[in-house]
Symmetry: C2
Subunit: 346 residues, 2 copies
DNA sequence: TAGAGCCTCGAAAACGTTGTCATACCAGGG
DNA sequence: CCCTGGTATGACAACGTTTTCGAGGCTCTA
């Protein structure tokens, strides 16, 4: 008995163009022409082909197409964490631009781990994405140089690339933080705390720099006990805030270096409601319901960041060959109350 | 003169296994064996191959691999809007499970448009994703039947499939809404408003059903002017709330059918601060900073939803062939104040 | 009527990988 | 010395498309 050796159904045994061609009684290439809307097919022939396509439930295998054409119509986006609304909005904006270019988007979360960032980026390159947008977790991107030379268009977003020269789209962290702190100073504060992320992270360093610049511009000294930069886990931030807010000369105002810190700060300040004088707060990056809570923030525009990065990427893909460019997206101070509280004591 | 006809650099002219083989002086298949860690290669030969790989900067072309192997190690996720934190968390959970299975995830946002949902899902199928998780925007998914028959594992999440029999992972909208409304009733309310999404949306309908069940369980009548189900755009919701909260017999409590409505309701209620008696509020689905705002909610667990859907998907991919299953994920009432306000007048 | 030119169409190569199978080689046993 | 059996290796087909190129049929003009 000719026992069939279980022919391992690829793709679940889908019909191919060859099958369609056989059924329609035409050549393979004719099917290809119909599927791709290429000219040079009689309406009558086209009809037969379409009929066969419908009958068999044929759908073109884009994997094979990609292999032949050399372009995948796919771009990759490596970010920190899709569950963070900031990145969610950014990703969505990239997706929209990609869609307008007939391109799919693969997202990957690095979880702020440089190793995972690299693994992800290289995996995407192995898939031969046409382009890559990277929100750096690490600070050495030389591993991408061979890929970029090999033709993978690459744009960095939110933070610049490390140790290589590449396109980058950034928020104005320095200017934003400076404006925010100046706002607090204008409302009479002189002892202002800063809580931000590890200064190895470019954005965090820029914001800290903005804080110091604003203080210096106003001729105010900075007591290093007012500055906390490290992990932004709630516990650490809470501890840091507790330290700044106690002692004989507590800070009267806070500048929060990112939205996670802002959220924690809001919680801490709300929690001590009865237990202390009001403390002013300005946060970098907006938070949901910030308007209801009355939190004054330096608003970034994650969608603009994503859109701009994607547009730059597609310009590169369309052949633009200028030198790497750095684009800075402005921030906006949104006053909602928490930043306009006057200092509670001299 | 033999003018070179501009040889159109594919993938930017990357080296292939053939190039590596040539340089190492071995056969093509041997390179393949080394790259894939297959046995049967002398350490000495392997050394030569690795050297060539490094020298040329070779990286395997996964597109070609996919074509040959028939599996893409990619799954697709069609959701409504990645910028919505609910879907962001869900997507992230799916990504983690996929990662554990060595699989990449392609997200696509349907923007709640059934046409776009279909377009996206079919595009993903053309890419030959191994599996698909769909958060329905439309209510007819027969278009996916050929794909599923052809072997694309498919799981629906958050809402069930329309007109086909398929796996689904859902939140307990009925039970959650019933509990939330019962909570308001337990605090003395008798005139309770419901604001939710269009009842064509399964989740919205379930929640409305839960509202009615709770009212009926308590023997309370429902005045249809208390029920608003339609678009959840802020303007519409604001208008609906204004109507319910005015008149001789305004509602004393509100049940918000989803997080967008909750946010709008919080804004509206905060906005009328001085202008009316306090109104109790329970929202379906948590919102960021809900704890600080003191909003009582029926919390869903988007991460559990995503994780469960992904796990079910991979079980299918591993060959599980049971009948389609429906999994329900429980909800949790989180009391934070807004739902415990007593009625302001008889 | 012949030649030119256009249009429709299909055969065959190519894309870069993996699977199948044959070959060459070596050691060991008879 | 031959045969057996295992190991290392490579030649070649296959995956499902797109690309290239040429064949045939038609119309038009001279």
């Amino acid at each position: 008995m000719a026992e069939t050796p279980r022919p391992e159904p690829r793709y679940g045994n889908r019909p191919t163009m060859k099958d369609v061609a056989a059924r329609a009684g035409v050549g393979l290439k004719t099917v290809s022409r119909v599927v791709n809307g290429e000219p040079g097919v009689t309406p009558e022939t086209e009809g037969r082909v379409r009929e066969a396509i419908d009958a068999l439930g044929f759908r073109r295998n884009d994997s094979a197409r990609v292999l032949r054409k050399g372009r995948t119509a796919t771009v990759g986006l490596v970010l920190e964490d899709l569950a963070d609304p900031f990145y969610g909005q950014l990703s969505r904006a990239v997706e929209e631009v990609a869609r307008a270019h007939g391109t799919l988007l693969i997202n990957g979360s690095s979880a702020a781990d440089p190793g995972r960032e690299q693994e992800l980026a290289l995996t995407l390159c192995a898939r031969r994405v046409d382009g890559l947008i990277v929100i750096p977790a690490g600070d050495d991107h030389r591993y991408l140089e061979p890929e970029m030379r090999a033709g993978v268009a690459t744009v960095f977003a939110d933070r610049p690339a490390g140790l290589i020269d590449a396109d980058a789209v950034l928020s104005d962290g320095f200017g934003g933080a400076r404006d925010g702190v100046a706002h607090l100073i204008a409302h009479g504060h002189r002892r202002i705390g800063f809580v931000g992320d590890r200064p190895r992270i470019h954005t965090a360093a820029e914001r800290l720099r903005g804080y110091r610049a604003a203080m210096e511009d106003a001729g105010l000294p900075v007591d290093e006990r007012w500055v906390a930069s490290g992990s932004t886990e709630p516990e650490r931030v809470t501890a840091a805030l507790a330290a700044m807010l106690s002692g004989p000369e507590p800070v009267t105002a806070l500048f929060a270096g990112n939205n996670r810190v802002t959220v924690t700060a809001v919680r801490v300040l709300a929690g001590r409601a009865g237990g202390g004088p009001p403390v002013a707060l300005v946060g970098f990056d907006d938070v949901e319901l910030g308007d209801v809570l009355g939190v004054t923030v330096i608003a970034q525009d994650p969608a603009a960041l994503g859109r701009t990065a994607a547009e730059l990427l597609f310009r590169r893909l369309d052949g633009a060959a200028e030198a790497p460019r750095r684009v800075v997206i402005g921030t906006r101070l949104v006053a909602r109350g928490s930043g306009e509280v006057p200092p509670s004591s001299g």
